[in-house]
Symmetry: C2
Subunit: 453 residues, 2 copies
């Protein structure tokens, strides 16, 4: 749906709601894909959301729509629904999506819904909910369609007929009599061979699988590297637990990238930050700013400590901002390159020193180039030569040192965090910029003092 | 492949190369997935790359390996190969990958390769190369597997048998006698119905398609929103030109996110920046830093212009960095949220004013909070009260104004760029931070002058 199509649809819905045209709104809903309707809900007011939600009559549509909604809106919609209705809706929703939704709801409501489900269903669901949502177990479709080694191709095809529900069945996983995963066969291959063929004789036995506790980023990396459509999840005994499908992996890749973006800017990692109220958003942004605030106070202390040199060479104050600003930019260039490299697997543990060394070289080259430029410009603009020493050269030299440190530190910090098993995106942005602000001013005044006094 | 598996494999290869164990290296290559070998090449030296590359004997393996390589390494590898060998290898490579590779090569070499191919092949290839690489046409697999409306299910299955090559055939596209796309049927559905069924009677006719000039980001959004495995590409007459498959879309999502990361940090948009030499990297990073440099010179001019007030209230210099630093952080928070929101479709044209208004509110709240904090701290730390006016309060007020402007500008700039059809990621980072450095200092001294003098 393009921007303008979205606008047209939004306008159409709003007009119908305003006119209270219930039947036409319902017709409109049926014509709109559940995923598109979920996107429209982001722009709807609370009243509009409730009106449209109550007009969705088809349970299958409603169920699919719910799985597409943003969490914040989902909770808002379900909060107004009696638990019996939610339990009813859950019958139409895939087990992994049920678990996702349940994890968002208040615990009380969750328990009530579970108690309203059949015992088998609620047990399956509770088992699935024991997995961390960011792991293969948390995103897998449990109990996938499977066949036994001794089954024939025809039996597999017959079984597929009965499994209308099987999500994204394009591979058939084959297990032995102990339920251990031994092979896989694609639907396409199934079509290619004689119906009486035994699966064991045609299945591919060289297959990649993951454990339920494997991090979802790792799963995404495997699926995207080998161009898989699905990846089986097995336990330590190689028993098939579920499959992760490519459509879920697309969401993972999107979401992880968004989280990294937000974290690097120091605004938490909630993808739905745009749906928060300003007060909630302030709460998410305040902590990282506080680090910068403390950094700023430390800098003010440094400046006060060096006040005597500022009094003597007032021009120095004029170049404080360029030192800090350029240092911050070079640092964020280097840290962004490294953070993204680590996230996409382009930077490996083995390459750490190589990458760091390269960034140091780059910092040095940029430092020399801009150091010379600053020396030139400060002399041209302010004739910054006093006594026998050229102040411009002092400032230029300080910039050179700062850029070298900025590139080195910008590369080093995320690598250290990665080494300590902390997500390097978490704090790199504000941490690097605040550290560089402090070191920049410190270097600046130290060099000025050493040379000028 | 996990980090430690990667390390083990890398060590093993290196040991074999050092010992010049050709046969064992070849065995090792066969056991390694082409995608993994391509990843190893990032860590290899030039000599190691050439050694291993020359030991790949299987043409199909070599072809797949080439499509997985990073561009910079690919060009390095092909540069040493006679054009006849490349033309030979191309026979094993899918048409869309051939086009990708050819676009990377020097024009002379590309022409030579084309002249060595059969006329049919080179014509298909040249036609494909007319599409912009960042569009549906640029990433599609041309000439997909298709059937006619009047064909039966059995005929489709028979045709599939012969099409061993058909990439990722899980949907069968159905066209009418004029080659216009009219329906689609999945392999799974094909298995479910009687062999003599006419395709027209079972195919799904409600389908989504895109034009070859549709931007690849738009294609990615459609595939991820509707959970498709493939999307047909048609011309204006609805004739089927090709399909875009989900595995290519995963790459697109990854790459676009990486480009946005790099662009926001002002380091160009080349994903392979880590493979560049320091000199090349400096060339990519220099221009955006130059903007900051000019901004810094402008700031120095502002400071010089306000020097008389600095002379009078020296404490003001100590708080310049905190104003600029916090302004920069708040601005980058807001701009990151908006840039990412625009990229993922969470921010629509329609919501622009809503989002902007929210960010202004957030900026105001943060401004008041940190303004009060700074007033307090500056008074506690420096007893910053002179004459009748409290300098701390002046500084706090300036911070408040700066944070309000930072949040507003941080949100406004990417939205304006989006409106002007410029990728909002391009320049937001350095542009916003430099602008905020300038406005911050300007506001700071203006307020100080207005109140204190």
């Amino acid at each position: 749906m393009l921007d303008h199509e979205f606008m047209i649809l939004l306008d159409a819905f709003r007009r119908l709601i305003r006119r209270n045209a219930r039947t036409n709104t319902q017709k409109m809903i049926v014509k709109t894909h559940p995923a598109d309707l979920a996107a429209l809900f982001r722009s709807f007011t609370e009243v509009e959301r409730e009106t449209v939600f109550n007009l969705i009559t088809d349970q299958t549509y409603k169920a699919q729509f719910l799985t597409e909604l943003d969490r914040a809106i989902l909770i808002e919609m379900l909060a107004n629904l009696p638990p019996t209705n939610i339990a009813e809706l859950f019958k139409e929703i895939a087990l992994d999506d049920q678990a996702d939704i349940l994890e968002q709801l208040p615990e009380e409501l969750g328990k009530k819904i579970l108690s309203l489900m059949s015992r088998d269903d609620s047990e399956d669901l509770e088992e699935l909910m024991t997995y961390n949502p960011d792991t293969a177990g948390g995103i897998m479709v449990p109990l996938p369609f499977k066949m036994y080694e001794e089954d024939t191709v025809q039996e597999a095809i017959n079984a597929l007929h009965e499994q209308q529900e099987a999500e994204m069945a394009f591979y058939i996983y084959v297990v032995d009599e102990n339920e251990k995963l031994t092979g896989v066969i694609s639907l396409r291959q199934l079509l290619m061979v004689a119906p009486e063929t035994i699966l064991r004789n045609v299945m591919i036995t060289k297959l990649v699988s993951v454990y339920p506790e494997t991090d979802q980023e790792e799963v995404a990396r495997i699926i995207s590297r080998y161009n898989f459509l699905a990846l089986p999840v097995v336990d330590r005994e190689n028993k098939l637990l579920g499959i992760v499908t490519v459509d879920d992996i697309i969401d993972v890749i999107r979401e992880e990238a968004t989280e990294d973006f937000l974290q690097m800017a120091g605004v938490g990692k909630d993808r739905e930050i745009l749906l928060k109220t300003p007060i909630q958003a302030v709460r998410m942004r305040f902590p990282w700013l506080f680090a910068t605030f403390i950094g700023g106070l430390i800098i003010s202390g440094i400046v006060v400590r060096f006040q005597y040199i500022l009094d003597k060479f007032v021009i120095l104050a004029a170049f404080m901002p360029i030192i800090a600003g350029m240092g911050g930019n070079v640092g964020s260039q280097s840290s962004t390159i490294v953070v993204r490299g680590l996230a996409t697997g382009r930077v490996n543990v083995q390459q750490i020193f190589h990458v760091l060394f390269d960034q140091m070289k780059i910092g040095l080259i940029l430092g020399v180039l801009y150091g010379v430029l600053l020396t030139l410009f400060s002399n041209i603009l302010y004739h910054a030569s006093e006594n026998i020493v050229n102040i411009g050269a002092v400032i230029g030299f300080a910039l050179c040192c700062e850029l070298f440190i900025a590139a080195s530190l910008g590369a080093l910090v995320p690598m250290l965090l990665h080494r300590l098993n902390i997500d390097p995106a978490v704090a790199t942005g504000p941490m690097v910029s605040t550290t560089l602000d402090i070191t920049g001013i410190l270097i600046y005044f130290s060099i000025a003092t050493a040379i000028l006094i």
